[in-house]
Amino acid sequence: MDALLTAFGLVFHFKVIWVIAASAAFGMFVGAMPGLTATMATALLVPVTFFMDPVPALGAIVTATAMAIFAGDIPAALLRIPGTPASAAYTDESYAMAKKGMIDLSLGTNLIFSFMGGLVGVAILILCAPALAEVAINFSSFEYFWLALLGLTCAVFMTSEDPLKGITSLIFGLLINCIGIDPTAGYPRFTFGSVELLQGVSFIPAMIGMFALSELLRGAVSVDQQGAVLVQKIGNIFHGVGGVFRKYWLNFLRGSALGVAIGALPGAGADIAAWISFAVSKRFSKTPEKFGTGHIEGIVDATSANNAALGGAWIPALVFGIPGDSITAIVIGVLYMKGMNPGPTVFLQNPQFIYAVFIIFVLANIFMVPLGWIAIKSAKQILRVPRNLLLPIILMFCMVGAYAMTNSIYGIIVMLTLGVVGWLMEENGFPIAPAILGLVLGEMLEQNFMTSMIKADGSPLGFFERPIAAVLGVITLLIWAMMIWRAITGRRATIAPSEADPAGA
C-alpha cells in the first residue's frame, strides 16, 4: 500500500504531468502522420527520456505509444492510408464508412473503443503481471533460457509470412549481439581492436537506424506523393457510439481479450492483433457479407484489439524482460539504462515504479479521449504538414538522438549502418522485428544458455530436469517441430496476412 501511495506521488507531479501531456501531443502527431509509426515515436523519444527520471521517462513512452496507435486510425478514415501499421487492418473499412458519410461515427468509434480497449489491456496487465512475477521469482537459468528461446520462437512464428527469412533475421540479430565483451568469460569478441565496440552495438542507435532511418529512406523516394484528404465536415463524433456499444459489446470484449493475448506473445504487437481480431470478427459475424462495405462491426473488434495489445505487451516485458512487441523491446533497453533491470525482482525492490507505470497507463488512456477529439478536429491541418519539410527534420532528430545515446559519432555510425542493413532486409523480405528481438534478448539467451550448459555439464537432459523448464522446453520444441513439419508439407506457417505492413507496430 505504501508503494502505491509513493507511486501516486511520483506520477502526480507537475513535471511528470507536463511530460505526459507533451508526449501525448507528440504521439498523436506521429501516429496521425502516415509513414511515421508508433515504434518510431518510441525510438525518437528515448534519447530525450534518457535525461529524465525513470517515471517520466516511462510515462512519456507509454503515453506516446497509446496516442499513436489511436491516431493511426484518423488518416485511415480520411486518406485511406493507415497512420501506423496497426490501423492497416481496417483502413478500407473506415474509408468506406467515410465515403458513405459516416465519418463521424467511424472516428468516434475508433476513439472510444481505443480508449476502452486500452483500459482492458491495462486491467489485465495490473492483474497478471504481479501474479506472474511471484511464479517467476523461483526461475533458474534453465527456465529463463527456455523462456527466451520460446519468446524468440514466437517472434518468428507470429510475425513473418516466411519463417525461413524470419529465423535468418533472428539469428542475424543474435549475432550482432555477440559483438563486444562476452558475458561469461569477459573476452572481447569481433571488436577488431575498437574500443567502442567493446560495449557492444549500442541498442538505441541500432533501433533508431532500423525503425526510423530505414523508414525515412523509403519515404525519401516517395516524398512528393501525399494523399488527398477526403473533404468532409467532421461533426459530433460521439453521436451514435453508445448504440454501437450496446450492439457490439461482445465484439469489444472479444477484440480486447484477443489483443491482450497477442500483445503478450513476444514479437507480435498491435498490428497483428488488429489483423487477427478483424479476421475473427468477420468469421463469427452474423452478417459477414457487410464487411468491406463500410460496416462498423470489424472496426470495433480491431480498434479495441490494437490498443489492448499495448498493455499486453508489457506483461512479459516487466515480468521476464522479454518484450511483447517492438515498442517494449525499446522499453526494456530504457529499463536497463535506468537501473531497473526487468524481471520479477523489480516487483519486490521497486514496486512503486511498477505501480507508477500502471497509473500512467490508465491516465494515458483517459487523456486519449479529449486529445483524440482535438486531433480529429484538427486532422485536416495535421495531414497538410508537407512531407518534404518533415522528413529532413526527422532525419536531424535521428542523428542527434543517436549521438546523444553515446555522446559520440559512434552512435550515428551504428544508426547509419543498421539503417541501411534494415532497409536492405525489408527490401528482400527479411522481417526486422525478429532481428530486434534477437538483439534485445541475445545477452539473456547466451548468459542463461552458458550458465545452464555449465550447470548441466553439457547434458541436454539437464535442460528438462526442473518441471517448469521441462514444460517450457517441450512447448518450444513442439512449435519448432510444427514449423518444420509445415515447411516440409509446404503450407505457410503463418497467421499474419501478407498485406500487413512489414515495418512492425
Binding site: 535525461f51 549475432l175 525519401a220 529532413p392 550515428i412 555510425i413 523480405g429 552458458m450
Partner: protein, 157 residues
C-alpha cells in the same frame, strides 16, 4: 533492390564462415569446456543451414525464370535515386566533418540541401532551416545538455 534468395543465402554463408573462422582465435579456458566461442559457433552453424535453404530456394526460382536482381520502379527516376543517396551522403558527411566543423553548420547544410532537393520553395527552406537548426540545438544542447560538437563556432557560442 530485391536480390534472388541465392545471393542472400551466399552472403549469409560467407558471413558465417568468416565469423566461425574468427572464433578459432578465441582463447580456451582451462577446466572450462564452454567458452566465448560456443554461442557464436552455434549461431553460425544455424545461419549456414538457413543460407543453404535460401540458396536452394533461390536456384529453384531462377530455374523457373526469376530475375537475379529486381530493382524497384523508383530506381528508374534519377530524382528519387538522388533523394535516397543524398540522405546517406549527408549522414556520412556529418559523421566525417561534424567534429571539426560543428553541429550548427552541418545541420544547416543537411537540412537546407534536403529541403531544396525535395522541392521546398527557397525562402521557406531558408526560414525552416534556420529555425529547425537553432531549435534542435537549443533543445538538445541547452536543455538536455548533449555535448553537440561546436566546431568552428566554438569561440562564438
Amino acid at each position: 533492390m530485391r536480390a534472388n534468395d541465392a545471393i542472400n543465402g551466399l552472403i549469409l554463408i560467407l558471413l558465417s564462415v568468416a565469423m566461425i573462422a574468427l572464433t578459432t582465435t578465441f582463447p580456451a579456458f582451462v577446466g572450462q569446456d564452454y567458452g566465448p566461442a560456443l554461442f557464436p559457433r552455434v549461431l553460425g552453424a544455424i545461419l549456414i543451414i538457413c543460407g543453404g535453404l535460401l540458396i536452394w530456394r533461390g536456384v529453384a526460382l531462377r530455374r523457373a525464370g526469376g530475375a537475379l536482381v529486381t530493382m524497384a520502379p523508383w530506381t528508374r527516376e534519377p530524382w528519387r535515386v538522388g533523394s535516397f543517396f543524398l540522405m546517406l551522403a549527408l549522414l556520412l558527411a556529418y559523421i566525417v566533418f561534424s567534429e571539426t566543423v560543428g553541429f550548427i553548420p552541418m545541420a544547416f547544410l543537411t537540412l537546407g540541401l534536403l529541403f531544396l532537393w525535395f522541392g521546398v520553395r527557397p525562402l521557406t527552406a531558408l526560414v525552416t532551416t534556420v529555425v529547425a537548426t537553432l531549435a534542435i540545438y537549443w533543445f538538445f544542447a541547452s536543455l538536455l545538455r548533449v555535448p553537440l560538437p561546436r566546431g568552428l563556432l566554438d569561440s562564438v557560442l
